[in-house]
């Protein structure tokens, strides 16, 4: 089997599943945003969709669940879906187990979270304390005082911590999984300066590289970071001469297509990128790439949605579309696929000819992938 990346239509929210060549399943964020009481809500029933996939694979766990950050649109409903080790009330046969939890340092260090964010933080802290099933993305020193406050040493937990500029241990393009994860963010020097933790800027940003028959396909998962974080990542990466780690064939558009991930000014019709964003988008994107915005459809000019301060921003979409056109690529929005009236999960297959966006299935193929209930 070959790898694939599946995006779920959740409005402005993220949940992306990566299926690796060896069958490993990684879930990047989990945000069940749908309102079951609203028949017009077109967002997908995420737990049902994920369960159907797990049942097809005859399993009830993920190898990895990564929360790129703990905003609600990245972890909403986690406490209802996952089996969590830290409290019996989150355990039961109808819950999905997490073999390894990936979180940014902020998910350990942050105080005062509510709801889902708090539940994930408690689980992450529990696992880090126990020393299993966890990977924290952070400059190690950043966690030192927290560990010591919990009676642990940094040395005892160092193997569970991955700093920016490193590959996640256990994954290689030469192994059966044929994939590796390079961490760009959170990056240490920035966190040192932070007094107030800005969640988005402490998001996990990574490049995943897939190898299929000698063809390497790279995806950048940009979480919700903004343009100056991107600038810093680009500068740092260039300083280390690792420009290849910012090459991409698939671009998970940051922050639900907010202009703030492109430049300081929204613009009237198209956001102007910063120098480094422009380089990342226009130079590092490969021929016929795919840019995926995990968001609502782009608003029409002058519509109420267009006036909304929340993403997606029409001007940002216009910029990305231009980038896509320049590379003969595609710029897609999860809530538009395959149709805005009936969005469905979209899958990018990683082939030996690169990434290929597969039309979301409707009809029989969709039916037989879903449970059917009868009375």
């Amino acid at each position: 089997m070959t790898a694939s990346i599946t995006f779920h239509p959740l409005g402005n929210a993220d949940c992306t599943r990566i299926d690796l060549a060896d069958g490993k399943k990684l879930l990047i964020d989990y945000a069940d945003m749908r309102n079951p009481n609203d028949p017009n809500d077109k967002r997908i029933d995420l737990p049902e969709e994920l369960w159907a996939d797990l049942r097809r694979a005859k399993r009830n766990d993920y190898d990895v669940v990564c929360f790129t950050h703990l905003d609600d649109d990245h972890c909403c409903g986690s406490g209802d879906f996952f089996w969590l080790d830290h409290a019996v009330k989150y355990q039961g046969e109808d819950r999905v187990k997490i073999n390894e939890l990936w979180v940014p340092a902020a998910a350990i260090l942050e105080e005062g979270c509510d709801d889902s964010a708090r539940i994930v933080r408690q689980e992450a802290r529990h696992r880090l304390k126990k020393g299993y099933g966890i990977r924290v993305f952070s400059r190690p020193a950043k966690l030192k005082s927290w560990l010591e406050a919990n009676g642990l040493t940094l040395e005892s937990r160092a193997h569970l911590i991955t700093d920016a500029g490193e590959l996640v241990p256990g994954y290689s393009i030469f192994g059966p999984e044929r994939a590796e994860f390079f961490i760009h963010s959170p990056f240490g020097w920035r966190q040192d300066d932070n007094q107030i933790i800005d969640r988005n800027q402490d998001s996990v940003v990574f490049q995943v590289t897939f190898a299929e028959n000698g063809r390497q396909t790279r995806a950048l998962f940009m979480s919700d970071i903004n343009y100056d974080s991107i600038d810093q990542i680009v500068r740092t990466t260039k300083r280390h001469g690792r420009e290849d780690r910012l090459l991409w064939d698939i671009f998970k558009v940051p922050h639900h297509c907010s202009y703030t991930a492109i430049g300081p000014d929204k613009g009237d019709d198209e956001t102007v990128p910063t120098e480094h964003v422009k380089w990342l988008c226009e130079t590092q994107g490969q021929e016929r790439h795919i840019m995926m915005s995990t968001s609502k459809p782009m608003p029409l000019k002058g519509s109420p949605e267009d006036k909304d301060v929340q993403p997606p921003h029409r001007q940002a979409g216009a910029y990305y579309r231009g980038v896509a056109n320049g590379a003969d690529g595609q710029f897609k929005v999860t809530m538009d696929l395959p149709t805005a009236s009936r969005p469905k999960p979209s899958t990018i297959e990683i082939t030996d000819r690169g990434a290929k966006l597969v039309f979301a299935v409707a009809g029989a193929a969709s039916i037989i992938s879903s449970p059917a209930r009868a009375g």
Partner: protein, 751 residues
């Protein structure tokens, strides 16, 4: 007892066995002389250099019953004649007044009877021929003759008297009852100087020496068979009188040919052959014919002169010309016209085909064969060789070189339409006209449309060997045509042949059978590999569609022959059937057969949904296996958007992650995508997902619950993307079922 005078003319005596030259003659003579065969006593040894034989004569004692069928004596004088060249010995009864029991070789008048003591070909018989065996066979023959246990069959001319007897092949039509003799054109084959081939019409065939053939029909039971082979025209005329006045007929014919046009010149310059058909009573049927043929050594013109009806002169170009003489000389009786018997064969035709195949010759349904490819051409010829069917052939293809690997046609037809080439072959075998249409049956050209429509309308059977699903469905759907449809095809790997046959009442149509066929091979373990094509096709030209399967001719021929028999078998029964014969690698054959399952058709305008009893039985079985809980699964079927029809072919069982209780059922997904994909692939993508089924618990009706209707709405919304309606089936108590269909345009349901 007086010996036959002919025997006294036979050569000169030989004094002792060891003086014989032919080893077999010497062996027999020594054996008999030594008294080693009981009841056999050597009487005489002779050699005839001119005839080329050595003879061993002896008296043979015969076991006889009291009441004799033929007056065989207690001791009969017999001579065994050994050809000096070492060929098969002849056995002659030497008694002057030996009777005429059956089972003899044909000898001329004035010669002894020639006993046929060994039916085997000499090449075979000589391997076991011993003096004891030969002596015993002669005694047994005589004993059976006395008891009436010998039976008649056609008498071959005895080579002792007829060195190289001619054979003649005569078309059956020439033997039709008629007052007038039929006239045929004959010629000796250049590659077989003993074989006269005859035709009803002169065709300008490049043959050897020509014959003019007159064929006579004797009245039924008018006379016994000819006891002796006549050697002159006069003798033959005496044998045939009074039922046939041979000389009068010949005089009339030859007189009428005394003209100067080409046909008459041809006739009078050809040798004359005479064929007489004697109806033979066989059981209650007056069906068999004893055919006797005689060839002259003279031309018809010369015979006319000898009969005194024509005179001759020499024409300017040196040929002999003939003119009629008024007032024939009745004293000329043909004593000087030498003839010899010829072995007569009726040309191959439907009747002979049927009788050799052991089939009734009345098996003549009108069959339109659609598709003259490998299977169509081979099965048609197989059936024609059995005298079966009255044929019309429809095929739009032209024979291409790669076809020859499996086709019954030959290279000289390459480039020509398959339909007409095959029709020619069938016509040649059956002697019937076989119409052919070189067109696509679904879109006949203007020139042939009327003929195609007429043939289909008048057909008893439409035999589809086109290997095309589209053609099969088209033929199934033809309105107002009552013919049974039968469809036959190979599986892609060429390891099996399928015969789908509608019943006589067509209550289960070919479309229904197509769905049932897919349901069968997907559920029958013996057919697990049925539609698997493991070998890639072979490209036979540059075009991307030019792929042909790699199936060896041996398999194609065997499977076609099975299909031919399968078609006949199907027609012998009134019910519809599915039969699949599979060949193993070592050519063992396995048959899987099913009766056509009765179908229910429900119209939900504009859609028609069809399901069969086998599907319902499956649903009941799955339901019963899970009671009291509910169960369910998906339905696979064939959809035809152009016809707006859905055939439910197969119900799959519940996936393993399904959850069923007494109240509800949730159909799982584990392995389902693979199962559906496998079914689609295994059916060459004819089968696809069409909907869901589930069971209701004990005591509940099959009517849908609110949850069921929600599911139906969901299915409808999903399948709308494929332009298809959703199907839902519910199985309940007492084998009751509800089938529902939901179309985005016209929702409906029915129980």
């Amino acid at each position: 007892m007086p010996l036959h005078p002919w025997w006294t003319t036979f050569g000169t005596p030989v004094a002792a066995p060891e003086e014989l030259n032919v080893a077999a003659a010497r062996d027999l003579a020594s054996w008999v002389a030594a008294g080693r065969s009981p009841g056999i006593r050597l009487t005489e040894l002779r050699r005839d250099e001119d005839r080329g034989y050595e003879a061993v004569a002896f008296d043979a004692d015969v076991d006889r019953p009291q009441d004799l069928a033929f007056p065989i004596k207690g001791t009969e004088p017999v001579a065994v004649l050994f050809p000096i060249g070492g060929d098969q010995p002849r056995v002659l009864a030497l008694r002057d007044d030996f009777p005429d029991p059956p089972h003899q070789n044909w000898t001329p008048a004035g010669t002894p009877s020639s006993l046929c003591v060994d039916d085997r070909p000499w090449a075979e018989a000589r391997l076991t021929a011993t003096p004891a065996d030969l002596a015993r066979r002669i005694q047994i023959w005589l004993s059976k003759a006395a008891s009436g246990e010998l039976h008649e069959d056609a008498r071959p001319p005895d080579p002792l008297f007829f060195k190289n007897p001619l054979s003649i092949v005569i078309p059956a039509q020439a033997l039709a009852d008629s007052d007038k003799p039929s006239e045929l054109v004959g010629f000796l084959r250049p590659d077989n100087a003993n074989m006269i081939i005859t035709q009803l019409e002169p065709t300008g065939h490049a043959g050897g020496p020509r014959f003019v053939v007159l064929s006579f029909q004797a009245p039924p039971q008018a006379m016994g068979r000819l006891r002796r082979a006549p050697t002159t025209l006069a003798e033959l005329a005496v044998e045939l009188a009074p039922d046939i006045d041979l000389l009068k007929e010949l005089r009339a014919a030859i007189t009428s040919w005394a003209g100067s046009d080409n046909d008459n010149r041809r006739r009078l310059s050809s040798r004359l052959a005479i064929v007489v058909a004697f109806p033979v009573q066989a059981g209650d049927e007056n069906s068999a014919t004893d055919l006797r043929a005689f060839a002259s050594f003279d031309t018809a013109g010369d015979i006319g002169e000898k009969l005194g009806v024509v005179g001759s002169n020499t024409t300017d170009d040196g040929d002999k010309g003939f003119f009629a003489i008024i007032g024939a000389d009745a004293t000329k009786q043909g004593d000087d016209v030498r003839i010899e018997p010829a072995e007569a064969h009726i040309a191959f035709d439907r009747k002979l085909a049927a009788s050799i195949s052991g089939r009734p010759s009345s098996d003549l349904p009108r069959v339109v064969l659609v598709g003259a490819g490998a299977i169509g051409s081979q099965l048609a010829l197989d059936l024609a060789r059995q005298g079966a069917f009255s044929w019309t052939i429809i095929d739009e293809d032209y024979l291409l070189p790669h076809n020859l690997a499996r086709h019954s046609l030959f290279p000289w037809d390459v480039g020509g339409p398959k339909a007409s080439a095959l029709a020619r072959q069938l016509c040649a075998l059956l002697g019937d006209p076989v119409p052919a249409a070189n067109c696509n049956v679904m879109a006949p050209t203007d020139e042939v449309r009327a003929n195609v429509e007429k043939a289909l309308a008048e057909a008893d059977v439409i035999l589809d060997a086109s290997a095309s699903v589209a053609v099969s469905r088209y033929l199934s759907d033809l309105d107002g045509i009552t013919a049974r449809r039968i469809c036959t095809f190979f599986n892609p790997a060429g390891t099996a042949v399928v015969v789908l046959a509608e019943g006589a009442d067509r209550s289960v149509t070919m479309r229904d059978l197509e769905a049932q066929y897919h349901g069968l091979h997907l559920s029958e373990p013996r057919l697990a590999e049925h539609l698997k094509a493991d070998r890639p096709g072979l490209r036979y030209s540059g075009s991307c569609r030019s792929l042909t399967n790699r199936i060896p001719a041996t398999r194609a021929a065997l499977l076609s022959a099975i299909a031919a028999q399968g078609v006949r078998t199907a027609l012998e029964h009134q019910t519809g059937t599915i039969r699949i014969w599979s060949l193993s690698d070592n050519f063992e054959t396995t048959l899987v057969e099913r009766r056509a399952s009765p179908v229910t058709r429900i119209q939900f305008t504009p859609w028609t949904i069809t399901y069969d009893q086998a599907v319902l039985d499956t649903l009941s079985a799955y339901r019963n296996s899970k009671l009291p809980a509910e169960t369910g699964g998906v339905l696979l079927g064939i959809t035809d958007v152009s016809r707006r029809s859905i055939h439910v072919a197969l119900a799959l069982p519940a996936p393993e992650d399904s959850r069923g209780s007494v109240q509800a059922f949730e159909r799982g997904v584990a392995g389902l995508r693979d199962d559906v994909a496998r079914a689609a692939e295994a059916s060459m993508h004819q089968l696809r997902y069409v909907g869901e089924w589930h069971s209701h618990p004990r005591g509940a009706s099959p009517m849908p619950s609110g949850k069921d209707l929600n599911q139906l709405a969901w299915l409808r919304a999903e399948l709308e993307a494929e332009g298809l309606p959703a199907v839902m089936a519910i199985a309940a108590d007492g084998d009751t079922f509800a089938f529902m269909i939901a179309d985005s345009k016209a929702p409906g349901s029915a129980a």
